[in-house]
């Protein structure tokens, strides 16, 4: 694919939306989970936020931004698992996690689908979603925006939404900071009534009806619908020539 001369793909729009989510963090540890989040975070460091701190996902802080699928060469620190949890509670961290289920209140589930005691489908487990959401900024990445992912009520509350945090008191709300949701169709945030999900923008080519049908709860859509911004030429060049020359991004968000 030659740079700049073809239209941006949906995957590229998503990557730029992810970069925008990390734009205002300053010197923060970004923990992007997934291909597009990783691409977006590396793009953010190359453009809007050079202070961002990134790890290789194993045990090092890396100062350079290698192509997707490769690990960085320039080590700027040691970041083994025990330190991850220190950094988590220290708070200067912004995680972008997956969300097999996310509800309108911002509760996220990556534990199990169905009844917890006898799940239809056991997923990864709770991981650190409860800790993340009461300790530092948290965003979500949903590569398939569908009624199965965006649900009225999650089966297991792992990541804590605003109402659940409020109900648990100041211990839970003190550092609670849900930031952004990027999906393959839209960008959402949590500025709806009582901290519920709100559509910020819809990706180019996505219509209101498509978004409504893909969401498992009633979405209020602004009229006219704001559009997610297109990648700038320099961002496209970085994505296509530097950060993902093999086009791995298209696997996570195929062009339809």
């Amino acid at each position: 694919m030659s740079a700049e001369h073809t239209d941006p793909t949906r995957a590229e729009v998503c990557a730029v939306a992810v970069a925008d989510a990390f734009a205002e963090d300053g010197e923060t540890l970004a923990s992007p989970i997934g291909l597009i989040p990783m691409l977006g975070a590396r793009l953010a460091r190359r453009t809007v936020n050079p202070d961002l701190v990134l790890s290789d996902g194993v045990s090092l802080f890396v100062a350079d931004d290698p192509p997707l699928g490769e690990s960085g060469q320039e080590v700027e620190g040691w970041f083994p698992h025990p330190r991850v949890f220190d950094m988590l509670t220290f708070g200067r961290r912004h995680v972008m996690m997956g969300a097999p289920q996310l509800d309108r209140h911002g509760n996220q589930n990556l534990s199990a689908i169905g009844d917890f005691d006898r799940p239809d489908r056991q997923l990864l487990g709770t991981r650190a979603a409860p800790a993340n959401t009461v300790n530092h900024r948290t965003s979500y990445w949903i590569p398939r925006h569908s009624p199965r992912a965006l649900v009225e009520r999650v089966d297991v509350v792992c990541g804590v939404g605003a109402a659940a945090a409020r109900a648990a008191g100041s211990g839970a709300t003190r550092f609670h900071d849900l930031h952004r949701v990027v999906t393959d169709l839209a960008v959402l945030d949590f500025t709806g009534p009582d901290g519920t999900l709100r559509v910020r923008s819809v990706h180019p080519g996505v219509e209101a009806e498509e978004l409504r049908a893909a969401t498992g709860f009633a979405l209020e859509l602004p009229d006219p619908l704001p559009r997610t911004r297109l990648p700038r030429p320099e961002e496209l060049r970085l994505i296509r020539e530097v950060l993902d020359p093999r086009g791995l991004r298209e696997r996570e968000v195929p062009t339809r």
């Binding site: 534990s111 990864l124 709770t126 800790a131 297991v156 804590v160 659940a164």
Partner: protein, 296 residues
């Protein structure tokens, strides 16, 4: 006479002989990385039952759950990384064969181990507040901070109970006969904490070396375990297989795929895998893996 500390070398089956039905066993490593798999396989061969397993879960927890050894599973995730969902564990959960499930947040899990290592009944953490972890584990209480925050509010926090272990099993790259041990890979994980949280800890190792060799060309910061924390040492070359034991060997990705396919497959598929690889002792396992690798 050369006064040296006790020689704690043991055979794999000596370690298993120290275990009892109903014990709480902590297993070190992380997911598919540096798991004491030779010891796990030995437990699989034993008559042990009703175990509580505390683990950053990978195939260790999957295999033990599938074999019906686990009465209580304590974990925050179970994953093989390149195979995101551990198929044996998934199957056990979906068929309801683990009687008690304690699924925690990772920070809660860590806080519980730290409380045990400090011999405290609990330690406070924010993690878990507002989540269903507290709904599904109603025995875990919250506690009000005796100190006000900057805004004058008194935070309610999770009082994470100590995850005290009867026994910890860990695998390190090198150990001496006395229980000092070194990891050579990128990450210590929490193996030292597991040992401190346990009444007794057993370390399996790629190679037992003289004490002086542990720090020979190796930064002393890599000496993770000291003999105060360790009751026994077992030499088990390739003993973390098929998990990674960097830099001695990477994860055996091909074998992991073979395992995952069998675990996801029919009862016959699983029986064939089990009979081929898990029916005999550790030497038989290593032989079977070698043969399979050569035939590929």
């Amino acid at each position: 006479m050369d006064p040296r500390p006790r020689d704690k070398r043991m055979e794999i089956d000596d370690v298993v002989a120290e275990l009892r039905d109903g014990m709480t066993i902590g297993i070190g490593g992380w997911g598919p990385r540096r798991k004491p798999m030779a010891l796990v396989r030995a437990i699989l061969r034993s008559d042990l039952r009703d175990l509580t397993v505390v683990s950053w879960g990978g195939a260790d927890l999957g295999l033990l759950a599938r074999a019906g050894k686990v009465r209580r599973a304590v974990y925050a995730f179970v994953s093989l990384d390149s195979v995101p969902l551990e198929p044996s564990f998934q199957r056990a959960r979906q068929s309801g064969t683990i009687p008690e499930v304690v699924e925690l947040d990772e920070q809660m899990f860590l806080t519980g181990l730290r409380a045990a290592a400090q011999r405290l009944p609990f330690l406070p953490t924010r993690a878990g507040l507002g989540s269903d972890v507290l709904v599904h584990n109603p025995e875990i209480r919250t506690i009000r901070s005796p100190y006000p925050g900057p805004d004058g509010a008194y935070d309610d926090l999770v009082a994470m109970p100590a995850l005290r272990l009867d026994v910890a099993l860990v695998h390190l790259n090198r150990a001496d006969a006395h229980g000092n041990a070194t990891y050579l890979g990128p990450d210590p994980y929490f193996d030292d904490l597991f040992c401190l949280a346990a009444d007794r800890a057993y370390v399996s190792t790629e190679r037992v070396v003289p004490t002086a060799e542990l720090s020979d060309g190796v930064p002393v910061q890599r000496m993770l375990l000291n003999r105060l924390m360790v009751s026994g040492v077992v030499e088990t070359p390739n003993g973390a297989h098929f998990t990674a034991c960097t830099p001695d060997y990477p994860r055996d990705e091909a074998f992991q795929q073979l395992y995952a396919r069998a675990a996801r497959g029919s009862d016959e598929d699983w029986a064939a895998f089990r009979d081929r690889f898990l029916a005999g002792d550790e030497a038989a396992y290593q032989d079977a893996v070698r043969t399979w690798t050569e035939q590929r």
